[in-house]
């Protein structure tokens, strides 16, 4: 169990970051002849906010889908909490404690905010279907427990006013918040956020940044996020991985990454000859 080596570190704001919760080793992902990700390794540590950034087509979303178990890489391995992970279905990965949000919001538009977030409790609903049909007893108890967790999330995200509103009627920024709520409802160990700020205005971005930091702080959830907005990433992340054309070109604290010449080239553009 070398991978759980205790080389933990302390962040600038005094949080202690633990050992590796996830390790990605030499991953290569191909779609036919196209190499989406090429020999990438990095780790995510317990309690940190880890960002994956890169220009368009750099392989960020593919990377997230690999972590999420949606894509199966041809080469390399993934260790979650020190154990090697075989090919798994997404729902099995969810059961392991990994939850995610999507770049294009994937909510049930006709359902209320409350119901949408309740679906996030799916992995915590143990009562078999027949007991749920009878309702009294176990299923009811479970529902009450789940509702309590969901209500705490609603309170946390300050969306009490839209509790009963169908999600389809909400503005974009709020839908994103509901989606975050649904991911949180699973009480994940590791939360994956796919471009949480995409398409948001400044105020919405500020709100979302605050919620991400609060989730990390209050629940101690480890967060891995993909984001386009460099300003936001540099402000809220502890460490950043930079991808370009499916390769890793930088990895470190925001300051280190910012000073890395290769990263500057990738973002400002130099001729690739």
């Amino acid at each position: 169990m070398n991978d759980m080596s205790p080389d933990s570190y302390t962040t600038a704001d005094g949080r202690t970051i633990g050992g590796k919760i996830m390790e990605v080793k030499n991953i290569t992902l191909r779609f036919g002849g196209v190499v989406a990700i090429k020999d990438i390794s990095f780790d995510i540590r317990e309690g940190e906010i880890r960002a994956i950034i890169g220009p368009n087509g750099a392989g960020k979303s593919s990377m997230l889908n690999v972590i999420n178990g949606f894509y199966h890489p041809q080469e390399g391995e993934i260790l979650f909490r020190g154990e090697k992970r075989g090919p798994m279905k997404p729902y099995q990965i969810a059961q392991q404690g990994i939850a995610r949000t999507f770049q294009n919001i994937a909510l049930f538009k006709g359902m209320s905010t409350l119901d949408n977030i309740m679906t996030g409790r799916f992995t915590h609903m143990k009562a078999p279907v027949w007991k749920q049909a009878i309702w009294r007893g176990e299923a009811e108890r479970e529902e009450i427990e789940n509702r309590e967790v969901v209500e705490k999330i609603i309170d946390f995200l300050e969306i009490q006013a839209i509790r009963k509103t169908p999600v389809g009627r909400l503005p974009y920024g709020l839908q994103k918040r509901v989606e975050l709520g649904r991911a949180l409802a699973a009480e994940p160990k590791l939360l994956l956020l796919d471009e949480p700020m995409a398409g948001m205005n400044v105020e919405e971005k500020e709100d979302m940044s605050r919620f991400i930091l609060d989730v990390n702080d209050e629940f101690g959830t480890t967060i891995a996020l993909i984001e386009h907005d460099m300003g936001v990433v540099m402000d809220i992340s502890d460490r950043v991985v930079v991808l370009d054309y499916g390769k890793k070109i930088g990895d470190g604290t925001p300051d280190e990454v910012r000073a890395n010449p290769e990263v500057i080239d990738a973002y400002l553009g130099v001729s690739h000859d």
Binding site: E148, E151, K152, I154, Q160, A161, R163, K164, D214, E218
Partner: protein, 656 residues
């Protein structure tokens, strides 16, 4: 007056709290919605929490006469805390929670607060920000621990820890608390409230237990408030009205105070609570009516027809029924049918099914708006008051309700009108003094206890009702000597749903001009239904069709202003629509949303010049403050439009 039934038993909040725990021990005193469920405190629980909080505060070093600031939204814990502060011998000073750090710093420093009770992290952060400028500040207590776990300051305590401390020390300090409670009586300070400061710095109004409790008693008796009533506490705790309703009257009669889940859930909570006693500023009733009308326009044809048919019936019959006048049987029948089909469901949606007594005050309310609610059978009335009077100066008794008056003097209140038209009053609720401000105290309150309201008005001969025209100091003269009463015209303008705010100029000038603010809700909805695209508030405000509509409104107002001979000179000749909403964060409005004329005149001097120099457009460039304190600028060209006016002839006749 006879105070024998108060003294010693019911003359302070801690004593009332103890009495209520005896009288109504298992009845709900406070409710708040949390995690989607209404949680409640019975009077006994509230009393026990109050004692624990008070002992906790004493253990933390609170001494007699210390000022304790309370900053936060309406929460049962904070209401109980205010009683606890009194119990421990301190004086609660509720502060507007949306004030920026700078405003809060002024108040905390001015009252030399020893303790600050904050609702949440937002407030704690503000106080910590300014802490080094507050040498008297000793302890900070917060209610909601969210986000505060990592704060390590020694002088920062959670409310839970204060409660625990209080319960642990109950044995040793309980007797001391009893002594402190009994040491206070009817002449001691009950609370200090800061006025919102329409002009200059806010002033600390010191109100005694007599002021608050006698006023609460009188007003509760005026409207027959009883223990089974309930009220939704959603207006700022720092506002005197909330203090009288949610502290004074609630503790006097023992009714239940319900607090909304969050500021923006107020509407839903109102419906769930269904209060029987309700207060809201005209702005609220206006917004609600606009909403109803917008939603009716989206309803099916049949429903619209039903709505309009029965609203016509209601308009004719409803107010008369409320006033107890005679109504024919057939009209009673149609009203009853309307009640089943329209009014009942509508009142339910509005959360006003159970409202027995409703008040509006603070500004004039549009007659149409006022009549709408009364025709539904909601007993909406007007009152006139101010912080210095512990709210009540005049109010409308049941059966004598009109849109254009503010009612008869409240119980035990005397009124007089000075020669210049200014209204003076004297009552048991009259404030003790302005804190650390002898000069203002003397200016406002004379040796005999008469207080100048600063409002000009007159008493109607036939009905004995008071009518308010304007702020006395805003009433001026135009260049030709005719009367200038800006608020009178502004109110008429604001009665249009499309106009949120209006500021009229003209003092010492040849003619009147105005700034207008569109109401984004109402104009935005109109734009949506007419497929008019706009990218910003600014763009919508300057849209030619919007300008056209507002021009029509202005011209209608001119017509109605011209009818009154005295005020015919106040017709609006030129106006412009502002590129930004007037905002309290920019200092343009008070925290209670009243226009601050001087500041607007300063900030927009160039725009006013343009209104008078005949130009057709003007370039505006204004600094704005965002909610988080950052600043930005809003720029753009504004059109200035000329409005039709009605010629005034009377002036020459009078001059001869």
């Amino acid at each position: 007056m006879d105070e024998s039934d108060l003294v010693g038993v019911r003359d302070t909040f801690p004593k009332l709290m103890a009495l209520n725990a005896q009288r109504f021990g298992d009845q709900s005193a406070y409710r708040v919605k949390e995690y989607g469920i209404w949680q409640s405190w019975t009077w006994s629980e509230a009393h026990s929490d109050m004692r624990a909080m008070a002992i906790g505060l004493m253990s933390l070093g609170l001494e007699m006469d210390d000022h304790v600031a309370v900053i936060g939204t309406n929460r049962p814990e904070l209401y109980i805390m205010m009683s606890a502060i009194s119990a421990a011998g301190g004086v609660p000073v509720p502060i507007y929670q949306d004030g920026v750090a700078e405003e809060i710093a002024y108040v905390l420093d001015h009252c030399s607060a020893k303790f600050v009770i904050c609702d949440d992290q937002e407030q704690v952060d503000k106080v910590l920000d300014i802490q080094d400028r507050l040498p008297d500040l000793r302890q900070i207590v917060y209610r909601d621990p969210r986000g505060l776990r990592k704060y390590t300051q020694d002088d920062l305590h959670s409310l839970d820890s204060v409660l625990k401390l209080g319960r642990d020390e109950a044995a040793s300090l309980g007797a001391a608390l009893d002594v402190a409670i009994n040491a206070r009586g009817i002449d001691d300070t009950c609370v200090m409230l800061y006025t919102s400061g329409t002009t200059g710095r806010p002033k600390g109004v010191v109100l005694s237990n007599r002021n608050i409790i006698v006023t609460a008693k009188n007003s509760a008796e005026f409207d027959d408030l009883v223990q089974t009533d309930s009220v939704l506490a959603y207006l700022p705790m720092a506002w005197v009205g909330d203090f009288i309703f949610s502290m004074g009257q609630a503790q006097w009669t023992g009714f239940c105070v319900c607090c909304p889940e969050a500021a923006h859930t107020m509407q839903t909570d109102l419906r769930e609570v269904g209060p029987s006693y309700f207060f809201a500023p005209p702005r609220f009733f206006e917004g609600l009516l606009t909403n109803v009308m917008i939603r009716m326009e989206d309803a099916s044809k049949w429903k619209q027809k039903l709505f309009h048919k029965y609203m016509a019936v209601a308009k004719e019959v409803g107010p008369r029924l409320l006033d107890g006048e005679s109504v024919s049987t057939s009209q009673r029948l149609s009203y009853a049918i309307g009640n089943v089909l329209v009014y009942g469901p509508l009142k339910n949606t509005l959360g006003m099914s159970k409202v027995r007594v409703g008040y509006t005050a603070g500004e004039a309310i549009g007659p149409e708006i006022f009549d709408f609610y009364r025709s539904l059978g909601i007993n909406l009335k007007q009152l006139y008051g101010q912080t210095e009077a512990s709210v009540f100066i005049t109010q409308q008794p049941d059966g004598q309700v009109r849109a254009d008056t503010v009612g008869v003097p409240s119980p035990e209140v005397e009124l007089k009108i000075a020669e210049n038209g200014e209204v003076f009053y004297r009552s048991p609720g009259t404030f003790v003094r302005y804190y650390k401000n002898e000069e203002s105290t003397a200016d406002t309150k004379d040796a005999e206890g008469w207080v100048a309201t600063g409002d000009a008005g007159f008493i109607e001969k036939e009905s004995g009702h008071l009518r308010i025209i304007d702020r006395a100091k805003d009433v001026g003269q135009m260049a030709d000597g005719s009367l200038f009463a800006p608020k009178y015209v502004e109110n008429k303008l604001k009665f249009f749903p499309n106009i949120l705010e209006a500021v009229v100029f003209g003092n010492g000038r040849d003619y009147c001009t105005a700034f207008l603010n569109i109401d984004l809700g109402s104009v935005g909805n109109w734009a949506e239904r007419n497929n008019i695209a706009y990218a910003s508030y600014q763009e919508l405000a300057q849209h030619p069709q919007v300008q056209e509509t507002l021009q029509k409104h202005v011209e209608e107002v001119n017509l109605s202003v011209a009818e009154d001979e005295m005020l015919a000179g106040c017709q609006i000749h030129r106006f412009l629509i502002l590129h930004k909403q007037l905002d309290a964060d920019d200092g343009e409005l008070t925290r209670t949303q009243k226009v601050r004329r001087r500041i607007i005149e300063e900030r927009y001097g160039d725009l006013i010049t343009a209104l008078y120099d005949g130009s057709a457009t003007v370039f505006a460039d204004t600094e704005v403050t965002y909610e988080d304190g950052r600043k930005g600028r809003v720029k753009g060209m504004l059109d200035i439009r000329d409005a039709k006016t009605v010629p005034v002839r009377t002036k020459q006749v009078a001059a001869e």
